[in-house]
């Protein structure tokens, strides 16, 4: 693993990204199906009203609760969160690869980018 990181971290990154996207898509689709089943097909009413009034979780606590209750909407949100995380995971793996390659400048750069990415989630909460 260490040798793989040092030589070809790029291959792992590509692989991880593809799996991450595929996995999140599957979860989103599962969530959509569940949601339609749980909410009667949604073949009536106006979409404007639907979009404006239907509640969806958008923080860790409510997402966890929604998933525990087996709600389709929770799975859709989970899939979306996974999708948004794929570039973050990619940057983290890049950081590891640079560290294994003992490339101090690029390790530092990558870690800073990772920190900015993590911080961005918190900024959303602060500026609400």
């Amino acid at each position: 693993m260490k040798d793989l990181m040092a030589e070809d971290g790029e291959a792992i990154i590509g692989w991880v990204l593809k799996i991450g996207v595929a996995l999140s898509m599957v979860i989103i689709l599962l969530g959509i199906v569940l949601f339609y089943v749980q909410n009667g097909g949604l073949a009536t009413g106006s979409y404007q009203h639907f979009v404006a009034t239907t509640v969806f979780p958008h923080d860790v606590g409510s997402l966890a609760a929604s998933l525990q209750a087996g709600e389709g909407i929770g799975y859709i949100m989970l899939g979306i969160v996974l999708l948004v995380m794929t570039p973050v995971v990619r940057v983290a793996i890049s950081a590891l690869a640079f560290i294994y390659q003992r490339d101090k400048p690029m390790s530092a750069v990558t870690l800073v980018v990772l920190a900015v990415l993590v911080a961005s989630f918190y900024i959303g909460i602060l500026t609400r």
Binding site: E10, D59, P87, R90, S120, I123
Partner: protein
């Protein structure tokens, strides 16, 4: 229109957007946000949130190709991400200060610039053979790639990194403000300012777009501006469309299609400007 019809129509349009975007070289965001706001009358901030998710989907989905081909310069890309992500955070904050009208106007202007850039298609810079750029040398951002049409490995040096970083900061801000990938800003920054080969610039840009969008998406997500009913069908559709498009990409787009696309861009730009100004 019922929610069901909404989802299905959105999915189909998203597939088309992903397809068209991958063929022409612009991300789905440029098409998705105007469609959502002008056609479906959805709040522009929800449209941007959904578009950011789709941008991440296509970037992550396509990245495999570019990495495997060893076209993308991962070192330079990651280094420039310092700027784009900081720009994205700035943009995600600034958007809370801006009235919705301003976003429409800005979007229209960026679309006009994209149309102009497509018309220009000015000759690309020749790769630099030497560089005294301190940043590029210290972080070893230079690279090489195998050019299939010339059948040889081409080495290049990166120059003017500071200018590139300034441009990337702006690109990041635009990405966060408008929900687009900002490839239209990133590629010229690398190609013309930093003199990276065009194929490398395009591949690196595609690779970077996902990270930039993720920096913005985080803030939109926690602000509750990523609505799953909009984001989900769009993300799936655009990804499907882009995947189909990348397989069709073998052939070059006939000129008249490019011209048609430019016309459409201008029309949509004017519509967005009108929404912002009226």
């Amino acid at each position: 229109m019922t929610p069901l019809e909404f989802d299905i129509s959105l999915g189909l349009i998203a597939i088309f957007a992903g397809l068209l975007g991958s063929l022409v070289g612009l991300g789905g965001g440029v098409i998705i946000v105007p469609v959502l706001t002008l056609l479906y009358h959805i709040d522009i901030r929800l449209a941007i949130g959904a578009s950011l998710v789709s941008v991440i989907a296509t970037s992550s989905g396509a990245a495999v190709l570019y990495v495997r081909e060893r076209l993308a310069n991962l070192r330079a890309g990651m280094f420039l991400e310092l700027s784009t992500t900081l720009g994205a955070i700035t943009g995600a904050y600034v958007t809370t200060l801006l009235p919705t009208n301003a976003l429409f106007v800005l979007f229209g202007l960026v679309l006009l610039y994209s149309a102009y850039a497509m018309l220009q298609r000015r000759s690309h810079s020749t790769p630099a053979k030497s560089s005294d750029d301190r940043l590029a040398n210290f972080f070893r951002l230079h690279g090489s790639y195998y050019d299939h049409s010339e059948h040889r490995e081409i080495a290049y040096k990166v120059v003017d990194t500071e200018k590139g970083m300034g441009l990337m900061y702006v690109a990041g801000m635009v990405s966060a403000l408008l929900g687009v990938g900002s490839g239209a800003l990133k590629v010229p920054a690398m190609d013309i300012a930093m003199r990276m080969p065009i194929k490398v610039s395009a591949a690196t840009s595609n690779f970077m777009i996902g990270v930039t969008a993720a920096a913005s998406a985080g803030t939109y997500f926690t602000r509750g501006q990523i609505n799953p009913f909009i984001a989900a069908p769009i993300a799936i559709g655009v990804l499907l469309g882009a995947m189909i498009g990348s397989h069709l990409l073998k052939r070059m787009m006939p000129k008249y299609v490019q011209v048609l696309f430019i016309v459409v861009l201008v029309v949509v730009a004017l519509e967005m400007l009108q929404r912002g100004v009226v």
